[in-house]
Each structure stands twice: as C-alpha cells, then as structure tokens.
Symmetry: C2
Subunit: 430 residues, 2 copies
C-alpha cells in the first residue's frame, strides 16, 4: 500500500537537508563555544575549508547550487524548544546545567553567520569570518555537508538494487568490526565520526550498531542530536582551535609560549572531571608536557590525536610518572585515524597501564572503502580550521608535520618558541 501522504510530503522538499539541526554537531563544539562566548565573545576569527586529499576535486564533483542550498538551509536553522530543553536539562558527565542560562539565551537566538564560497583549481574555497563563538559553529556542519554531497553525487548514478547491495555490504563490514571489538575486555569506545560521516542516517545506524553490539563498552557519541534522539551520553572535551586562536592572539613570544596553558587554565575554571582532558599536540606534545604547570598533571587524562599513538601514550605515561602521578589513574583517549586493528593493538598495549578509551571517527561512520567503483565513496581528509584570528594567521604544528598548517615563517617561529625539533611524517589516513 502506498503511503500517499508521505510521498507527497517528500515531493514538497526542495532539498533533502543534510544538516537538520543546530545540535547535529560535536558536543565539544558546544562546550568550546560556551567557553569562547564567555572569554572571547568579540574576537574575529576566520574558519576555512581545507581538502588535504587534493586529488579529489570537490568543485567538479559537487554542484555549487546544491552546496549553496545546503549551506543556506543551515543558516535558516535555530535551536528548537526540545533541543534547548535537552541542553538545559540534561546531565553531561554526571553534571547538571553544563550550559549556563546566559549561554543558552544567546544560543537560542543564534543563526549561523554568512559564508563565503568560491571555486579555485577544482576545489571549493569556503570561508566563515565573524565573531568566534558564531563562526566556530560552522566547522562540523560544513564538513558534514561536503562529505555527504560528495557521496550523494556518487550515489545518484546507482540503481535502487545497487544501493541496497551497497548498504548491505557497508552494514556487514561495520558489524564485523563491532564483532571483533566486542571480544576486547574492558573496552571503552565512543563515536567521534560526525564531521566526516557518510551521511546522517548512516552515522545514526553506526551508533545503533555500536550500542547493540558493544553494550556498556560503547560510551556514547560526540553527536548531540543523535545522543538526544537515542538517549545516549554526549561525549567530548576540547579541540585544537582553542590553543590555535589563543596563540594567534599572542602579542609576543612570551605570550605565545603561555597561550596553550592559558587555554587550559580558562578550561580548568569552567570544567572538572572527565572534561579535563589535555590535548597536547597542537604545538608538539613533547615540549608541551615538558613545560606544563603542575596543576595540569592533576587533570583526568590526555587525548592523543596525531603522531605515533603508542609513542604519544608512552610520553604521557612517562610524564605522569616523572611528576609523581599514577598513570593507572589516568585516562588516555586515542582519537586519530583509528580502525579495528589499531584499536586492538593499543588496547592490548595500554590496558592496565592507563585507563584507555577510544574516540572512533571516520572509519566508524564512513568506511565505504572498496564499496564503490574507483573507490569513489572512500572517505578523504577534509578539515575546516580556524586560519586567522583578528587578522593574524593561526598555526598548528601537530605531532605529524603533514597535519601542520600556517605560513612557513610562522611555523618556524612557533617551532622555535615551543622548542619543537625534528618530527616524523606519518600518512594522514582520514
């Protein structure tokens, strides 16, 4: 029996929106947004799209009109009553009123600011310039829109049957990963895959697969909308954009050297417990930890997001041990380019030595490798970064020089100020 009402409803959609909610974003964006709203509400920041997989010519794959429709649709979104209720009333990491009434009042009235879209060399130049707490909210939906539009461009040419087989294969592939993971004792793993997901529906399915297959081992999702809809824990802490912008705002080398710790000092005042997670690699993990103030050693844990993950964790363990902390009480969150093999390896190596946790991203929510002709659905390395603050360029060194960004002269200056020496290049998977 045909459901005529649904068919007619579907016809009415001008576009099938990719992002349908302001909270279809990572939880840490909202946490950071609140911190920025309090500490730097008027700082002007520029976010920019960067496709690190240059041989994927996005401007040739994705129709500009469609892209504009999707971005314009996001600009029409505002927080719904139910979303606001969830943010105001929910418990995050056991704490109520994580979001202040002042922040919520502001967020409830927010529309995302304008974007700037151009094409160059087969790529889109997509830029968001404005007040930091506003433009920063573009990052995740902009990435999700580009990833999904690229996927849709490939899916459009596939028949109904091909599509069914495609998703059957993707489901089988993902479920086999879940079945491998469920054998790991004491595993703790969360979904971190919003930004480079295949699609919203697919991320939602992946989250259900994790929940069904892993039970307690699945600790939650970084996606607020899915967390709300599926009654799950929203997961996340903070990201590189905070130290990058703080550093760009520094007026001299001394302020620059202090910037990464200023970020965490602000954070320290606002958050406790599981939200006190150090992200040490923005300007090199080694120097960051060596120069860290003692109060940082009391933080709950560390997130390893670039470089050799085992090496990063060993560095953190040595650091805690040297500073008189017991690493077994500390949390290490791995979140860089994970897949099952790497998770198994790190779990085996570090379980018992520290509390291990995994933030599984792209290869959870977008492992369509090998499933379409010419691998046209394989995920790729797309980022959207704060590239300037108050007109000054930002810099990221990372523990992998291939993830570094910023003008060469500034990179050199940062390396000197932070004391970063030779770094080992590693392939950027996703």
């Amino acid at each position: 029996m045909v459901d005529i009402a649904t068919r007619v409803w579907n016809h009415k959609w001008k576009i099938d929106p990719i992002v349908r909610s302001l909270i279809d974003t990572d939880f840490y964006k909202l946490l950071m947004c609140q911190s920025v709203f309090r500490n730097h509400p008027d700082t002007t920041v520029t976010f920019s799209l960067i496709n690190r997989t240059t041989d994927i010519r996005l401007a040739n794959l994705i129709d500009e009109g469609e892209l504009r429709e999707q971005l314009d649709h996001i600009r029409s979104l505002s927080l719904t009553r139910g979303e606001s209720t969830w943010m105001r009333g929910n418990t995050f990491y056991g704490k109520r009123q994580m979001f202040t009434p002042e922040f919520m009042d502001w967020f409830e009235n927010l529309r995302l600011p304008p974007y700037q879209l151009d094409k160059r060399d087969g790529q889109y130049e997509l830029t968001f310039e404005g007040k930091w707490p506003e433009v920063m909210l573009w990052e995740i939906p902009a990435l999700a829109v580009l990833m999904e539009l690229r996927g849709r461009a490939v899916l459009r040419d596939m028949g109904r049957f091909e599509l069914q087989v495609l998703y059957a294969r993707a489901m089988t592939k993902l479920w086999e990963k879940v079945e491998r993971l469920r054998t790991l004792p004491g595993l703790k793993i969360a979904d971190f895959g919003t930004r480079r997901r295949h699609s919203f529906l697919w991320q939602d399915w992946a989250v259900q697969a994790m929940l069904e297959g892993l039970g307690e081992a699945f600790t939650g999702t970084s996606n607020c909308l899915i967390a709300k809809n599926r009654d799950l824990e929203a997961i996340g802490t903070n990201a590189h954009e905070l130290p990058m912008v703080y550093a760009a705002l520094a007026r001299d080398d001394a302020e620059l050297a202090a910037a990464p710790y200023d970020v965490l000092s602000d954070w320290h005042e606002e958050h406790e417990g599981n939200l006190r997670i150090i992200l040490p690699d923005t300007f090199g993990t080694g120097p960051f930890l060596a120069n860290a103030p003692d109060w940082l050693t009391k933080w709950t844990g560390i997130r390893i997001d670039s470089g050799d993950p085992a090496e990063g964790a060993e560095t953190a363990i040595r650091w805690w041990t040297d500073r008189g902390e017991d690493p077994r009480e500390k949390l290490v969150i791995f979140s860089d380019g994970l897949d099952v093999e790497k998770i198994e390896e790190l779990h085996a190596r570090f379980s018992g030595r520290v509390k291990v946790s995994f933030g599984w991203g792209t290869l959870l929510t977008n492992d369509f490798r090998g499933l379409a002709e010419n691998d046209a659905l394989a995920p790729f390395s797309l980022v959207c970064k704060a590239v300037a603050a108050e007109g000054r360029p930002t810099v990221k060194l990372s523990d992998n020089p291939r993830k570094a960004m910023g003008p060469a002269s500034e990179i050199e200056r940062y390396k000197r100020v932070f004391g970063v020496g030779e770094q080992v290049e590693r392939e950027v998977v996703v």
Copy 2:
C-alpha cells in the same frame, strides 16, 4: 510519518501467509500436472514429507497450530484472474498456449485436497493422498511452508537490529556469489530454489540479484509467481515423480522396465524443444541411457540431478557420441546441490563440449549457512515425494544411494530389472 492504514492492515492478518498463490510453485509442476491431468487423471497417489536431515527435529521447532494455519490457508487459495490470464496468454519457451483450455478450466476451479498431519519422533508426518493431478500440487508449497516456518521460529527470537544485520550479511553473501558468476563467459543459469527457499521475499530478492548482476546470463526462474510479477521466463521441464509413479503402476517386470520410457513418450507427444529434457537418474543413469530408444537421442538435452555431476555429463556425452549425435548441439542442465565453486568447475569443464546450463536451487535461495547462532538457519534436506500409487509403493534409485527411497525388497527388484550395479554414496548437501 506512520502509515496508519498499513499498520492497521498488518494487524488484521491472522497469519502472514507463506504461500499466497497457487502459482507460487515450480513451473514444471504445472507442466507435469497438465500431463498427468491428461494421461492419469484418476490415479490415486500419496505424497509424503521426508526430512532427510533427521537431527533437525521439525516437530519441536515448528508449532503445529501455525503449520495447520499455513496449510489451511493454502487450501483456501484458488487461481486468480490475473494468474489465469498469465498462464493462458503467456509464451513459454517461445510457445503460446502451453496450457490447454481443458487444463485451465480444471485448474481455475481447483482447491488443493486435504492433508493428513501427525507427529512422530520429533518429526511431522505430513501426507497428501488423492487424485494425482491434485495431490502433486502440494509438494512445493508444503516444502516452502516447512522451510519458512522453521526459519521464522529462529527469526522470532532476534531483535530488529539483529535482523537487519542478518539480511545485510545474507545479501552481501549472495551478491558476492553473483559477482563471481558474472565473470563466467556464456553462463546460462536459472533459479530453481522455490521448494527450499528461506522465504518468498528472499527468493524474490535473490531473483532480482541474479537479474541485476547477470543480465542475459540469468535465464529465468522456476517460480511462476515471481516469473509473472517480475516479467521473467518461467523455467522447468519434468521431475522424478513421473517415472516413479509410472513404474509403481507397472503390473510386471516388463512394464516396469518400459515405464521410464513410457513417461517420456507421453511427454514427447506433448512438448518439443527446450521442454524435451531427459531426467535419466530415477533408476540409474547408466542403464537408462544404455536401453533408451533412439528417438530419445534426438531430445534437446539432459538434466543431471544426482551422482557425480561431471561423471553424469561425461556419460551423456559418450551416449550421444555413440548414438551419432553431436554433443555440442545438446543441452546439459546441472541442478543438484550447486554452489558457485561447483558451477565454476562444471562450466570450465563442459563449456564448448556441450551447451551448459545450471538450475541453481537451495544455495541460491537459502544460503543462510553461518549467519545464525548454532547455524540454526542453515538449509536442510527436506523433500516431499510420491511414495505410493494405487496403493503400491514407489521407488527411486537415483545415482546416489543416499537419495534412494522405497521398500528394500522393491529397491532390490528395481535394481535387478533396470540392471543397476554398485553405486557410490555421496553426501546430500541440500
């Protein structure tokens, strides 16, 4: 949006019928039925269910009430106007009016006769006794009902998500088979999997997969309802029940020896071309061919349904060659327990030497091996056979003694009359 009408409609179903049409059956059943209707309309025959996989205790797995509901539902079916139109108007193997007006008049008014259901030793004893053209139509739906009810008993305990993963895996598995088959040049293959299918919907999906993946290489389906709905060729010729019943009716050894040829003589008068396919193994392929009349060598081909298939085909090739026929003009249809490896092997060995064709059954429409706990969805060897005619037991020797049936003394007599010597036992897969 919930389609309330569909939900309410679903609630109204007392049972979700497994067999919803009298033509949800093998095409050859209808062909044979017409032949029997013409030549033996009043012969009393008994069909009986035989579960060759005795460790699957069907009576413990399947609720008797549910089984009766399904069988009773089949008894309520009659040919619909559209089904009658399809049978009367369709072209089968290029021939119009394959079914005579007399047969169609009878078939349009047919309801299936009563069944007899008992339990013994954890198995169902399901018997159909009556006029041959009526009871013979029970075989396929009875098997489909038992196979699907056994599957449903397993599926009932699975969650919604588990079910989705199960079918994703089954689809992936089947599609990988299709992808292997599509590399075989000049392949000709049909669906023969109605009787032991996982379910009607799954068979329908499998047919679509074959159509989508193999194109011209997929020659059709034995299932008339699916052939009608999907606008495909209905495929099939004749089966063991004809020689078995003819043989049981023989009054002495001379008539017995002639019975298999009498069957084909009746068939010869009714059909030509692709419907003239010899099924030689009922009482042993070797003696059957050795004693065959010359007009049989002119038939289009042979179907190999037991024993070593390569050996069966070599025997046929030698036979045609010895009788002055060119094997390259002859069709060999393999239809016994096929899966991809066997199809590849036989295709490689016989392509070019004969016209090769495959009738792919259970491992096309029910390969759920390894997909459920304790392999509870793996197909098993269930048959429904004519066991008696006019009160006399039937016998089947087959080229595999494990597929033999009938009273021991009669088997000995048949072996003597047909001159069957030592036979090699082969595992019965499905």
